[in-house]
Amino acid sequence: MLRRKATIATFLAAVSVTAGTAVAVLGDATVASAATATFTPVADTYVDNSVTTTNYGTSAQLGVDNSPVKRMFLKFTVSGVSGTVTGAKLRVHTDDVSGAESPSGGTYKAMSNTTWSETGVTWANQPAIDGATLGSVGSVVRNSWYEVDVTSYVKGNGTFSIGVTSSSSDGADFDSRESGSTAPQLVVTTGTSSTPTPTPTPTPTPTTTPPSGDPVLVGAGDIANSGSGDTATAALLDGIPGTVFTAGDDAYDNGSTADFNNYYAPTWGRHKARTRPVAGNHEYNTSGASGYFGYFGSAAGEQGKGYYSYNLGNWHIVALNSNCSSIGGCNAGSAQEQWLRADLAANTRPCTLAMWHHPRFTSGSNHAPTTSVGPLVQALYDNNAEVVVTGHNHQYERFAPMNPSGQLDNARGIRHFVVGTGGAGMYNFGTIQPNSEVRNNNTFGVLKFTLHSNSYTWQFVPQSGKTFTDSGTNSCH
């Protein structure tokens, strides 16, 4: 069957050549013992400098041109790929329409911004095409596939943006993801494609991460009320060993002793002996958060402060109190900020994770970003911290590593998580903020960190019966 296919293929290829399609670039697809996965864009659009405020995100076409200037933006999310990526190819297909042809199919570059919105990008607000050049496509004809090797950029799971420009005043038109079968593709190959002599019976190397003895830190915020959400998330904790964290609003409505006994104790309270909490605003509905401090005792740090730190393996864990007005402020020079800077200065562990209740960065509609915790974020950034975990908005959100101003910073940035998914009713999202990478508001769950010696893995573990999840790995700075 393969042989017959090949014959037909050769015939068709010949036809296509005589028809003038000399640029048959598709290939390198079948390699022994290699696995391939094909992804279509999660977003694609183009911008046009002759109509600077127009967005084409829903268009079935993509254009790249130099007169008027048109730029294409493609975004792919690679997931489920295990093992070493040995090749990644971007495939784009020209429109089957007169004028789609061009002397130039464009220059393809990596982009650092992976959170642009397909239906929001215009010439006026376009993200920068600021990364390495991945390749160029020469002259293109209509209705053909073209390929660019992007192996240098796509090295594993993650989200990847590619920007395309052209220096030709005779632009090219491609099919967008809305066009169906001719949508752009990212073909990711893993395995031993470089092996010169293919083995007769390919057996891909198992790539499942071996069980590690590294410490686990797992938890969520916005947890226990009269509903059943906290029952679902506590059940998850039953199966996950390690240290449990809370991100505040542990017991509704007022964090009173009765609230902790009635709502928190029967669910998350099962794991109290391994729990290190932080206090939310609802805890401070009871004066001085006395119900909270009374329930958790010394595990919550010094009463009246509510900030403390501890170590897990190679990691330094800092619990802070974002109820700033209750503890003398969070500003630079405040008691907490001074303590934090001294604590971080004295820390010898290579990796740092901090948590508190009110998010500095959030796209939630119910609570705006809390700027008052900015000095705490600054102190952590100054000391090369890795992760900040918060709650307050009842939803899950993951941000890309950012500097304290919220700008993408892949070198030193802190990855911020909002994990208000402990059980209290979900909130809507508002305007999605820059560098927000993943969001969900229909799934209770816990966020599990596996703290490796010089890196970390995060995994959102959904309540039973739900499917949303999110996971990834980053190195420490």
Binding site: L2, K5, A6, I8, A9, L12, A13, A24, L26, G27, A29, A32, A35, T36, A37, T38, V42, V51, T53, T54, N55, Y56, G57, T58, S59, A60, Q61, T77, V78, S79, G80, V81, D96, V97, S117, E118, T119, G120, N143, S144, W145, D175, E178, S179, G180, S181, T182, Q185, G191, S363, A368, P369, G425, Y427, N428, F429, G430, I432, R439, N441
Partner: protein
């Protein structure tokens, strides 16, 4: 998110061991050509000679691909992740204009563009009144988190609702504040709650009274709104000049008056319990008959009317991206996606009063 799948053009991990490089390239070329053939077939059958092979689910692209939004036709204004934006109502899934104006809620009618600016962490927000050239004509400092916003069909009256405590209609405690501005006279009612209210035929001075979701009638004086007190959420008729409110139906939230003034689209709490969500429904004002629309997902929005037969509203996906949907107002049909990646819709016809 796309699931990884084996490409049909690749031999994947099985069976390709003995194939020569040339054969492999040939197969790949063949697939390219076959795909082209498929595209050619699609063009042959396409009724209007659409130049691109139509893909399933492609939201209508702009005719001719010129990307120019018609300036003379009716437009749907909306928010595109917090940026004021517009599409042609004739091609709502097509290209869109995205301005640099940031709003949490917006509404446009007859050349008046109202925009509730994002609130600060402390809850300070601002109503900006813009003309159709996006020039700010007036602004009002407010307190609370932007929630609902409406401009009367004439462009004269503006009404807004903010959450001043709490943050959801679903349950628990919350408090709203609704205000009205007459842009012609400058008269401002900062809190409609202070209007004299008659609830179920009796004067009401309850401290728990909340008002939200104003919709204006054609006379630019009378309006409808939600009046909530003692666990009830009423439809009330208001009079801006007389400063009165009078309830006319129970269980009606976030009303939106039809262009012909006979019906109100509203959100109807499921089994009377807002914590269970809302069914988008339509109330006939004369007969008080209620029809549930074909939208079965919970809608927490103040709907708009595209015409006398169709209502539109925003719905949020679980990842926070919003879409504007439309559904017939008479209970028939099913929802259709009107504008992906958008919320806070309103219809604007350039020539004032022509609608």
């Amino acid at each position: 998110m796309s699931d990884p799948s084996l490409p049909e053009s690749a031999g994947a991990s099985s069976g390709g061991g003995g194939l020569s490089l040339r054969a492999r390239v040939s197969i790949a070329s063949a697939v390219a050509v076959l795909l082209a053939a498929v595209a050619v077939v699609a063009i042959v059958v396409a009724p209007s000679g659409t130049p691109v092979a139509a893909g399933p689910g492609a939201p209508g692209r702009g005719a001719g691909g010129s990307g120019v939004i018609r300036a003379d036709g009716p437009r749907l204004q909306m928010l595109d992740n917090g940026m004021l934006a517009a599409v042609s109502l004739d091609d709502p899934g097509g290209p869109r204009i995205v301005t640099s104006q940031r709003c949490d809620r917006a509404y446009a009618a007859a050349g008046t563009v109202a925009c509730l600016r994002p609130a600060s962490a402390l809850g300070a927000t601002r109503l900006s009144v813009l003309d159709d050239g996006m020039r700010e004509r007036r602004s009002i400092e407010l307190t609370g988190f932007p929630n609902r916003l409406r401009v009367s069909d004439s462009g004269r009256m503006i009404a807004w609702t903010l959450f001043v405590s709490g943050d959801s209609y679903a349950g628990g405690e919350f408090s709203t504040r609704a205000g009205i501005l007459d842009t012609r006279t400058g008269r401002l009612a900062t809190s409609v709650e202070e209007f004299a209210a008659v609830v179920d035929g009796r004067p009401n001075r309850a401290a728990d009274l909340n008002v939200w979701g104003v919709t204006f009638t054609r006379d630019d004086n009378r309006f409808y709104a939600t009046v909530a007190t003692a666990g009830h959420r009423y439809l009330a008729e208001g009079d801006f000049a007389a400063k009165t409110l009078r309830t006319v139906a129970d269980g009606v939230e976030c009303p939106s008056l039809s262009p012909d003034g006979t019906r109100v689209a509203f959100k109807s709490a499921v089994d009377g319990d807002p914590a269970r969500g809302w069914r988008l429904s339509v109330l006939d004002l004369a007969s008080k008959r209620v029809v549930a629309t074909g939208e079965t997902r919970s809608v927490d929005d103040q709907a708009i009317w595209l015409d006398d037969r169709t209502v539109a509203y925003g719905l949020q996906r679980s990842d926070g991206v919003n879409d504007v949907w439309a559904v017939p107002a008479d209970g028939t049909g099913t929802p259709r996606l009107l504008v992906p990646g958008a919320n806070s819709p309103s219809v604007e016809v350039p020539e004032a009063g022509e609608r």
